[in-house]
Amino acid sequence: MNGYIVGQQVINGLVLGAIYGLIAVGYTMVYGIMGMINFAHGDIYMISAYLAAIFLALLTGAGVQSVPVALVLVLALTILFTAFYGWTVERVAYRPLRNSNRLAPLISAIGVSLILQNYVRISQGARNQGIPALIEGHVRVNAADGVTIGQVTYTQILIVSAALLSMGALAWIMRHTTLGRSCRATQQDRVMAELLGINTDHIIATVFIMGAAMAAVAGLLVTLNYGSFDFFIGFVVGIKAFTAAVLGGIGSLPGAMLGGVILGLCESLFSGFVNTDYKDVFAFAVLILVLVVRPSGLLGHPEVEKV
């Protein structure tokens, strides 16, 4: 086997996995707290890619020269506006259906997904959009014997570190803050959380905001890395991220991250060694295999035990 290809595909797979993981977090958190799949989440990610490009253009137009300053500002603005989209979707499409049967919000989610896609298609056009490459350059990765086994672009380094940083921050919030405790309580028993004085409507809204914020980080990073996008990118990436969430165990935060990385590695290694066209087939085959052995996913709990 060619060591260079292995190394390079592992690097690519990790980068891809970081992106999937960031988006999968939004699926898994919403599922954990509401028991529903937010099918519009992929399109929230798609919107964040457009927002990132728009803000970048605006800042460049306003004369911001420094790339780091522009990136930090774009990141902040993209998170803010994407979070607003996430919050709005929950408020308009899901909250009114809170007490209806479980199918209703699911249908509503599919509707929101179509609306968001067409809203972007009409307002931004159906053609591919793009941004110029902002960060140039790469570093070589050498094995112990000095042979180059791959190269990592600075953008890829940025993607993986930003993903680790934002996931770490999210995990810390969930684990150590009052908000995080309230989220977990709402996830485990919503009625009891209300009895204890937790406003679970606020908690659910906050979860949508946090999920959208993570998707926004992914949207900006992907835009930086690939430079081009269209109104339909949310669909495939959304399905992949959802698959990552199920693979890792839906409802589990570390599971979403793990599932993302595994899926990313599977895809990129399969593309590198076997066939690019069938990479998705392989990824879903892995999902099926895992679910046959562990129906609740790698890190999922079968059901919260109730005594």
Partner: protein, 247 residues
Amino acid sequence: MNAEERRLLVLEGVRAAYGAVPVLHDVTLHVDRGEIVTLIGANGAGKSTLLMTLFGQPRATAGRILFSGQEMTALPTHRIARLGIAQVPEGRRIFPAMTVEENLILGITPLTAREQEDPGLRAALLEHVRSLFPRLWERHRQRAGTLSGGEQQMLAIGRALMSRPRLLLLDEPSLGLAPLLIRQLFAVLRRIAAEGTTIFLVEQNANQALRIADRGYVLVNGRIQMEGVAADLLADGHVRQAYLGGH
């Protein structure tokens, strides 16, 4: 204090239903400050529904609920806890995937933001629970789902006490516990009452409940059928026959 000022909780003609099925019919009762009041009745009489209706789950379809003279019938569920009412619900409903300590800390949610951030107050509240349930505290880093039934019950009570409630509601706390644990539990309830917390206790274990209560109500098919001083109910032939195992 006149009779009206003494009233901590008042239900006037409260009706409630699950969907189209009516469960409570014109329930009128009251709990005075400092009292232990018990509500006894058979399985399915509507006892648990009554406690949950106080929190708007389900909402009363008729009648009024007042706490300390303030109408709370239509308040959102999460606002009711902030009035100073805490519930130990049917089935305990602890958070199994969280530690014992996290469960307890969730109990301070009804306090004001300033009180919640006060580490001294938090430590004092945890210390109070620890003094009531030393065995539970030994496991404060353990996941709550791994506790025994008795320990989970202690945890549910401790969590409710973390908000320093004026009124503590308990739904069948003795259910599924061994006799020795039940005795300990009722001793703790006495102590909580002695510390100034008013208690409204729903029980199938009518004998024990009436022994620690000041007054009692008997609920039959969603209606209050009898009410009176606990000692009188305990001596009543009908109550003995129906709820205390005869004789």
